[in-house]
């Protein structure tokens, strides 16, 4: 009698499970079915068959899994497949944008392109480059950073370390408002003060001021978050050693959060580098190299892209230059992002043994 239990019995802890390749099989099946359905119905757009395949994938994995594994696992799989579908929906446009930009951008992107201006090149002719635009963008963004970082970081330090009461509330409120200012409005504000009231001409610096308006709230917000992450115990440890508060902030709080703050600044720079509206209003554009950001119009990458594209009619040398400039801009922002990550990792408080 007792020997009957020797035969393998199904454990109550182990239910039927579908093999690992199941999800891939359903995915392949859904794509095939999606393609088939669109072909049969004469749908041309690839978005349509992709959507059909996505819906089939979610429904299909639920149906099969519910039959074999039970309803709880099926729900689990549905959630997983929804996450995957959402991920693909987000990544596909991004990847195709990158692909398209790289494909069209590399045509004329070379050393010559990066080191020459458009000074003597007509829009319809090949040749020329973006040196003047890179220079302008670097100077405008650099000046904006020089203005925004001290103001933003000091404001954040005030808010986190000192701010109590009405003034702090008011500052927080205005930072919130500034976060929502459209870039064209920031441009118009500087235009009215700098150009119309003070009677200054267009210059890179005018653009930098408008860019600072956009950048400061981002720097304040990210710095604030980073400072709040610094444990109070560290501040107290330093104060209890008889270190004055300002030195505590300078030597303990800021070094602990410097990685995060730098990352925030880098991301803020990345955010303003592509801004076009304030530059259009305040810096204008030129085909020549103007290394002085305090006088006369300057070129910039966003304006360069816009003008080259506008003058091209959708093909030809100017069209290629627009894409190459776009690729340069994206590459610049990606490099900034990667540097930011590198700094964050390098400067993160160390816990190694």
């Amino acid at each position: 009698m007792s020997h009957a239990t020797l035969s393998p019995r199904r454990s109550s802890l182990r239910g039927a499970t579908l093999p690992k390749w199941f999800a891939w099989a359903v995915a392949a099946g859904s794509v095939a079915a999606g393609l088939g359905i669109s072909a049969a119905a004469g749908l041309e757009s690839s978005i349509q068959w992709a959507l059909i395949a996505a819906v089939l994938f979610v429904l299909g994995s639920y149906a099969v899994s519910a039959k074999v594994e039970g309803r709880r696992q099926a729900k689990d799989r549905t959630a997983t497949s929804l996450v995957w579908v959402a991920f693909l929906l987000a990544v596909v446009p991004l990847a195709s944008l990158m692909w398209e930009t790289v494909k069209r951008g590399v045509k004329v992107l070379d050393g010559y392109f990066l080191t020459h201006s458009m000074g003597v090149v007509a829009d319809t002719e090949p040749g020329g480059g973006i040196y003047h635009a890179i220079l302008g963008t670097l100077e405008q963004v650099g000046l904006a950073t020089v203005i925004s970082v001290p103001v933003g970081v000091l404001t954040a330090i005030y808010l986190v370390e000192y701010g109590r009461g009405r003034l702090a509330k008011a500052v927080t409120f205005f930072v919130d408002v500034m976060t929502g200012i459209p870039s064209i409005v920031a441009g118009l504000f500087i235009l009215s003060v700098w150009v119309l009231m003070l009677d200054m001409g267009p210059s890179g610096f005018a653009g930098s001021m408008a860019l600072s308006i956009l950048m400061i709230p981002v720097v304040v917000r990210s710095t604030e978050e980073m400072l709040k992450l610094v444990p109070n115990e560290l501040r107290e440890a330093s104060l209890a050693l008889g270190v004055p508060k300002w030195r505590t902030i300078l030597k303990v709080v800021l070094p602990t959060s410097i990685g995060g703050i730098t990352t925030g600044v880098m991301l803020a720079i990345a955010r303003i580098t592509g801004e076009t509206a304030p530059v259009l209003l305040l810096v204008w554009v030129t085909n020549f190299i103007n290394a002085n950001p305090f006088q006369d119009p300057q070129a910039s990458l966003p304006m360069y892209i816009y003008l080259q594209y506008q003058n091209s009619g959708g093909y030809g040398a100017a069209y290629d230059r627009a894409w190459a400039a776009a690729l340069t801009l994206i590459a610049f922002i990606m490099i900034l992002n990667m540097v930011a990550r590198g700094i964050a990792r390098w400067k993160a408080p160390k816990t190694g043994r």
């Binding site: 107290e236 440890a237 104060l239 190694g352």
Partner: protein, 258 residues
């Protein structure tokens, strides 16, 4: 240079909440005084009034007198920053500065306060680490991050950091409650050595620890939650644990409440 602390009529507030009321006591130099009492009775709050750390908390306010030898810490014109150099503090959770090496952690109090020569600093760092019984364990890794040490080592690092600035008084708020028994023992031994040089006040939840390390014990209690905490009695540790003069103390020590 250990100093005597003489507290009289001390009240501490958080905003409008009176956390501790009318505390008066004397802490003898070159001795260990333990604070015991149920959670929330204001031991930490009182401890922090002794080096003016209480006012660092938003809304923190103190009334009364704390005499350090013959100077009132709350007198007019007293700089809280200088007070904290005289009265050092070790916290419940070890909190070495995460961006600094072992060496820099110990040197932090000195470096952040002024200029020292490298050789001077080297001497003080070694002396402080030896003083904290940590030198032998870290002498080969002075340049490694302080946060890479074990919990007990980190706490001794914090003690070394505190004694490096040569305070007169050392306040410790439950310094062993985050540590294992072995590390706890190491710290208790250390306290025994440190009392030769410093006036030590230690908050502890561990009755045996109070009995082991302290010369005098103060028992704090509060009537009810939301009421201010009060000093019930302070006496020689032996007396408190054998024959306290207040019934509540005996109840607490024998585990009848709290």
């Amino acid at each position: 240079m250990a100093k005597r602390i003489d507290v009289s009529g001390l009240n501490a507030y958080y905003g409008s909440f009176l956390a501790i009321e009318d505390i008066s006591m004397t802490v003898e130099p070159r001795s260990v005084t333990a604070f015991i009492g149920p959670s929330g009775c204001g031991k930490s709050t009182f401890l922090r009034t002794l080096n003016r750390m209480h006012e660092v908390t938003p809304g923190g306010r103190v009334e009364g007198k704390v005499m350090l030898d013959d100077e009132n810490l709350y007198g007019a014109g007293i700089d809280p920053v200088s007070v904290r150099r005289e009265v050092g503090m070790v916290f419940q959770r070890p909190n070495p500065f995460p961006t600094m090496s072992v060496y820099d952690n110990v040197a932090a109090g000195l470096r952040l306060n002024g200029k020292y020569k490298k050789s001077e600093l080297d001497d003080i760092v070694e002396k402080s680490l030896r003083g904290a019984n940590l030198w032998n364990e870290v002498k080969d890794r002075l340049n490694k991050p302080g946060s890479g040490l074990s919990g007990g080592q980190q706490q001794r690092l914090c003690i070394a950091r505190a004694i490096a600035v040569e305070p007169n008084v050392l306040l410790m708020d439950e310094p062993c409650s985050a540590l294992d028994p072995i590390s706890t023992l190491a710290i208790e031994d250390l306290i025994g050595e440190l009392k030769e040089r410093f006036t030590i006040v230690i908050v502890t939840h561990n009755m045996q620890q109070a009995a082991r390390v302290s010369d005098r014990t103060a028992f704090f209690n509060l009537a009810a939650v939301g009421q201010p905490g009060k000093l019930i009695e302070i006496d020689d540790t032996e007396r408190i644990f054998s024959n306290p003069s207040v019934q509540a103390t005996e109840d607490y020590i024998s585990g009848r409440f709290g």
